[in-house]
Amino acid sequence: MARFDKIIKGYFFLCAAFSVLITVLIVFSVLFESVRFFNIVPVWDFLFGTQWSPQTAMRADQAGSSGSFGAVPLFMGTVLITFIAMCIAAPVGLFSAIYLSEYAPKKTVNSIKPILEMLAGVPTVVYGYFAVITFSPFLRGVGDFFGLSIASESAMVTGIVMGIMIIPYVMSLSNDAMNAVPQSLKDASTGMGATRSETVRLVVIPAALPGIISAMLLGISRGIGETMIVVMAAGLAAKLTANPFEAVTTVTVQIVTLLVGDQEFDSAKTLAAFALGLTLFFFTLVLNVAALFISRKYREQYD
């Protein structure tokens, strides 16, 4: 009997350990290929170079030529699109959460929340398709009306659609945070004659701030790592620009373009995708762990 127990227990432990193994495998595989890449292209050139043209570098005479693997335009593109996305998702998500937790009657909440959660369940490839087919032409039409020329793969289109995708995450996480604020605090404020909005601004949001910040960080992390929307709706050409109406490319777009289709595994081109993956993993890891610790601290506060 004891032996059987030991085996079962051991199995459970192995399962838990396996989750750590996944992380180790991720780090290991991505790091391994990245190191090979950095043997061809110096880290410095990759992180701070402003020229990204992996296609030309693939030709034999240019193999590993410096300057072609400068990832700065990709980083900037990612940041630009994520920034636009958060400009949409942060206020809309936060205000939705506020409305749901402080204003809407319970019945309304129970019927609205599942509908909004549907937004979170829509696969991102569908968002990408929507961006291309419906939203991009619409935005260009609006741009034409105001005499603005908007590229069909502009950062604006991609950013807005990505923002819509992130709204439900920000909403539901900050809603959780706000619901965790004890009713007694809200009552205290209301009892003093504060209006609802004053209670929200001065009591609920400050008390839920860690949770809200953590929600925003997770939203950003999601935006940075989002692939399908940008692959379908953002540009391919690496261009260093802050103009949201121009097409920019992102880290994930380049990973996909470098790796989809037939490839030889040893070229700098394919290895570059892993270096990009490593960077992506690193930044999202920092954001996720920060979000995790902030919200944990916060939870301890009210436990």
């Binding site: 079962i8 991720i26 509908i115 929507f130 601004r201 995790l292």
Partner: protein, 436 residues
């Protein structure tokens, strides 16, 4: 600007005369202050409401546009053609020629290579298969002449559905005036009809939009989900049980916890890179297969399942465990006989939500090549395959007009499946979850 708002505030303050003779309420300054606070309150409320409304409107526009684009893909135009089943051609198996001859006969005015070529384009290339099937099922037709309903080509299908722009100059559109004339002739004879598009549900992918179907991608999705669930459930539930029931409170446990929470937020494309490097390059597993796709997805949904299962286990009250322990059960027995069974509905719900996530995931499958053009419906987990989302991606990339409605239709199907899956999860949660 500031003066204006003050004035408005004053006006409001006057209108809303307070019935109390409050010391503070009576002073003008305080009335203005109060009116401003109320204005701010209203604004805040409007913001909140608009935020919700914005999401709702988006959802509405989103569904409306997808459905408007996609519903037409569920029907398919057919043309009634008078076909002569020439014996020698049937024996040679040259059904193409049979079809072409029949068309020529029906529209003798098509002269020259170019016009005849245009004529052949009325009927789908799949029409040849329909003829062959007809003869196989019904051999006595050989040598006869009969009216046969054949699928129209995408070109005609789009025209019939009104999706083509016919205002532009002929040179700028695919469908030519002559073809329109022929089609109108057929329409005049009641020889054009619209039927339910079964091919869409029974075919694999195709280069021809009217023959392209989703069966291949559905099978691919099913295979990879089955692989994914077998792996992620057996590991995920185990991990959850360990963390919730057995794990000592120490640094290692803490690390595993942080690690799982982090994994849940790692971009999905990273899992694709991992699968590419480990499964394809290191272990040499077959590229584009649902097996590798399932492996990649398994790692992706593992954290979802672990977290959901843990919550379910944590909801089982400790008193139940105490009761079983007091009867002399070992910790493992308590867990296997009591805790897990009671937590099962919650675990199942979490797992189904994991399925939903895996069903919609695309990026990791791009990395392992589940985006190739696969015409054959896969029959096993080692066959090259696509999945519903990658099929959407592939079709979205196709330039032909005919694929627009197919893409949207595929999205409708995917969303329906996701709806059913999520609905099941909600049902199980409602129906079976114990209320402690």
């Amino acid at each position: 600007m500031i003066k204006r708002t003050t004035k408005i505030a004053m006006k409001r303050a006057k209108k809303k005369k307070n019935p109390f003779k409050f010391k503070l309420g009576s002073s003008k300054k305080n009335q203005v202050h109060l009116a401003r606070r109320h204005a701010r309150e209203r604004r805040f409320r409007v913001f909140g409401f608009s935020a919700i409304a914005a999401s709702m409107i988006f959802l509405l526009v989103f569904f409306a546009s997808i459905i408007a684009d996609g519903y037409s893909a569920f029907t398919q135009a057919q043309l009634r053609i008078v076909v002569t089943f020439d014996q020698s051609l049937v024996e040679k198996g040259n059904y193409r020629k049979i079809l072409q001859n029949s068309l020529k006969q029906q529209f003798p005015e098509a002269k020259g290579r170019k016009q005849r070529f245009m004529l052949y384009k009325l009927v789908s290339k799949g029409g040849v298969n329909s003829l062959r099937k007809l003869v196989d099922n019904n051999p006595q037709i050989i040598g006869e002449t009969d009216q046969v309903w054949l699928p129209a080509s995408s070109l005609i299908d789009m025209y019939v559905k009104g999706k083509t722009n016919n205002e532009v100059d002929e040179s700028k559109r695919k469908i030519k005036d002559l073809q329109i004339k022929w089609l109108e002739e057929l329409q005049a004879n009641n020889s054009v009809r619209s039927v339910f598009n079964t091919a869409f549900f029974t075919n694999g992918d195709s280069r021809e939009p009217e023959q392209a179907g989703i069966l291949g991608s559905i099978m691919g999705s099913i295979f990879s989900i089955v692989v994914c669930m077998l792996i992620s459930m057996s590991i995920g539930i185990g991990a959850a049980v360990y963390l919730e029931e057995f794990a000592p409170k120490n640094k290692l446990t803490d690390l595993i916890e942080v690690n799982i929470n982090n994994l849940a937020a790692v971009p999905s494309i990273i899992f694709g890179l991992l699968a590419l490097a480990i499964y394809l390059n290191f272990f040499g597993m077959p590229r584009s297969s649902s097996l590798v796709g399932g492996f990649a997805l398994a790692m992706l949904v593992l954290p979802t399942i672990v977290i959901a299962s843990r919550n379910a286990l944590a909801a089982v009250p400790p008193s139940i465990r105490f009761a079983a322990t007091a009867l002399g059960a070992t910790k493992v027995q308590v867990t296997l006989h009591h805790t897990i069974p009671y937590a099962l509905p919650g675990i199942l719900t979490g797992t189904i939500l994991g399925v939903a996530r895996a069903l919609g995931e695309t990026a990791p499958l791009l990395m392992i090549g589940m985006v190739a053009f696969v015409a054959d419906v896969p029959t096993g987990i080692l066959d090259p395959a696509t999945s519903l989302p990658t099929q959407i991606y592939l079709w979205a990339d196709s330039p032909e007009l005919g694929f627009v409605e197919k893409t949207s239709a595929c999205i409708i199907i995917l969303l329906l499946i996701l709806g059913i899956v999520n609905g099941t999860a909600a049902y199980i949660r409602k129906k079976f979850q114990y209320d402690w």
